[in-house]
Symmetry: C2
Subunit: 442 residues, 2 copies
């Protein structure tokens, strides 16, 4: 084996870290399914033109596939998807006749971008997406619901608090139009750079607009409220436009409809724009406390026109969010901010006192598994001390000893307390908090 | 969106099919974890030379990656992995100092091969692998255990019965050497073609060997027994060699140690060789009843030398199997051999009688979710008949009606029986068999 080195941008984890990641994924899946989202896995590749037509600034980041011994003229031109939304939109268009709308699906898969790796930025990364797509129409109530789903799912994870910030593209566009700005998209792109270039940078890039207009645009960016009080603050800027009213109404619904969330989990933040072109209304973005520097750990929004069709026909408006699993774990795991007490799901190691004992040990392990208790049999009849050490090193909480004194007794050793007690294979149960690995957030 | 067509060799599923697949994966994961295997996800790519050094006949099937706007001289030369064993061996070599051996891991991920697609053969396919890897040594008891894990896991799936066939490379090699055959590998490759080219074809390809030798080789291939009686049948062929004895002993252990399995789930089948070079002892291969023509739905074996290292050092012998999830589901799902009654995990649709009712409906849904009951709120306050029809089309079993007669009552409608009864949001429970989707095998 020539190379066993890590590849920059393609993170991998040790067994105990992977158990943490799997527990996070288990909770994400559980939350999504409790909210009525059906699982979906799609192929990893799309025709290159599908990827390019949706990818605004992403064309340079796509990985293209080629068979090692491709035939002459073999130009399938497939690329690995750079997000899960574009393939999903393609899937909806492809299977529209077979789906029941509103269609609610979640999807947990990797995506790939050929970017320069850095903290929080990877070439292969796991995303957890949920979307709701309607046929022809989709009530804005689903924009409201989606903010709640996102906040509740993040709260179910053993990670630092995430603040979900919501805004609305119509609000921004209406505000700009009300100010007489013609090039809304171009202006938006400049304002999106605010965190990078600062106020002076934005002013320079918008030098073609009157100073008063630029000042109002920057004023809008400073508005962030935990409730619908942003409406009064926007009104105070003295700009009016029907689209602004619509956007403010929609954003107010998102905040009002999630009043049950704990304070700080969802805020209106009027500087949020989201780079991707396809958003048409509500937009979401979340940052993790203490890790603001790595950027958004989740994002999404409303897209009314993503699923378009060659021949016109029905529209499929949708709203969705994406949780950046690798971005979240990729900053927490290396810091040791999330740890677990195990590197194995095994709850009971069945010890071996001799080779002859092996069939009985396997029978016992099967009895435990039949009752849902994860069990493995020791690899070899080494001294008990060695077998116990194996269990300790993997964080396996119990060792089962059978006939250790030649009297046929069954005993279970609890490695946490170093105590040993008689046990009945038919009825013994592990302590409820030892059945599965614990995640510790530090 | 330019192309919404399927891509040959890249299978995708409708929501109800995906629910079947997810249930299969849930049971696979559960079985692997009950047997003490820790989850692992690895990157999808490996350096091309790693893939080529292990890939015997696979070099033409590898997908190579290239960034769309790759810079001049940008020759990372990465390829998508063609199985999960080669990346796992690389991972073990890379992290040997941090792992506790025997290391037990499972891995469920796609693999890619640029092959010509046909029934049961895909360009992107999901594999579920389990392996046990030791440091320096790994008792043959784990070969025994692995056959049982494979058979038990397959029995836990809602699929037609799979017969796991076991053989041993040492047995074959010892038999050939006992016959005086020099080119063991070349002869094995010919015999591996037996199902394709038939007895006459094999005879022709082995024309350089004496007729008596070829006859014995073919005799060995016909031996298949449900127990250790293969030993007597091999002995009756009058060939002897120490390696043959060792291989027979190991295979006999595999059969003897799994006598608890129901008849027919595990057999010794002495024609099984497995194409890949890296197997050194026990080999496994499984075929699904009624679908023998698609070939092996699972396979694996013992590999003593896969994890090798540049500078020598420790050895990491392993044994593992791979279940071809896409191959199994790819033949069963399109035939309607596995179906489910739902296209959604939602258990309760909370109906809406007006927009004003929405906050109360969401509060109710949250109450249900807090008790583990998957719930969603209707998209719009349409007529009840329309809301019920949405639930019926998705196979959602219950519709919750609140204040339907303006008297504040809570009622639950059971769509299977079309009956309606009063319900308390704090205590109501769905029928146990309606909590999750049912899989029907037909």
């Amino acid at each position: 084996m020539a190379k066993v080195a890590p590849l920059s941008g393609f993170p991998e984890w040790l067994p105990e870290q992977q158990l943490v990641l799997d527990e996070v994924l288990r909770r994400v899946r559980q939350s999504f399914e409790l909210h009525g989202f059906a699982p979906l896995h799609l192929r990893s590749v799309e025709p290159l033109d599908t990827l390019l037509s949706k990818g605004a600034d992403t064309d340079k980041e796509i990985y293209v596939l080629r068979r090692l011994h491709a035939d002459e003229g073999d130009t399938a031109d497939l690329g690995l998807h750079f997000d899960l939304t574009v393939p999903f939109a393609r899937y909806v268009a492809q299977h529209q006749g077979a789906l029941t709308f509103p269609y609610r699906r979640y999807q947990i898969q990797p995506a790939w971008r050929g970017e320069r790796p850095q903290e929080g930025r990877y070439r292969e990364f796991l995303q957890a997406d949920v979307d709701i797509v309607g046929r022809d129409t989709l009530p804005v109530a689903h924009d409201v619901e989606m903010a709640g789903i996102l906040a509740e799912t993040l709260m179910a994870l053993p990670i630092p608090p995430v603040t979900v910030m919501a805004n609305n593209r119509k609000l921004i566009e209406g505000f700009y139009r009300g100010l007489g700005v013609e090039d809304v998209a171009g202006t938006l792109r400049v304002v999106d750079k605010l965190p990078k270039v600062g106020v002076d940078g934005v002013k320079k890039l918008l030098a073609h607009l009157p100073d008063g207009v630029v000042a109002r645009i920057l004023d809008l960016c400073t508005i962030a409220t935990p409730d619908t009080s942003f409406v009064a603050r926007v009104r105070a800027l003295g700009v009016s436009h029907p689209l602004l009213d619509q956007g403010m109404d929609e954003l107010a619904q998102v905040l009002d409809g999630n009043a049950h969330l704990p304070p700080g989990r969802l805020v209106a933040a009027l500087h949020i724009a989201r780079g991707l072109d396809y958003y048409t209304g509500t937009v979401y973005e979340g940052v993790m406390e203490g890790f603001e520097h790595v950027g958004a750990v989740c994002s999404g929004g409303r897209y009314d026109d993503l699923v378009d069709q060659a021949g016109g026909g029905a529209k499929f408006p949708g709203v969705g969010v994406s949780i950046g699993i690798t971005r979240i774990l990729g900053v927490l795991l290396p810091k040791g901010a999330l740890t677990t007490d195990r590197s194995s799901p095994t709850c009971v190691l069945v010890a071996l006192n001799s080779e002859e004992h092996r069939p009985a040990a396997h029978t016992l392990a099967r009895q435990l598994r039949a009752r849902g208790i994860a069990a493995e049999v020791a690899s070899a009849p080494q001294k008990y001390g060695k077998q116990i050490r194996y269990a300790e090193r993997k964080g396996i909480p119990y060792v089962w000893l059978h006939d250790a004194q030649g009297d046929g007794r069954h005993e279970v050793r609890d490695l946490r307390t170093s105590t040993q007690a008689d046990a009945d294979p038919q009825t013994w149960e592990p302590a409820p908090d030892r059945v599965r690995a614990h995640i510790r957030a530090t």
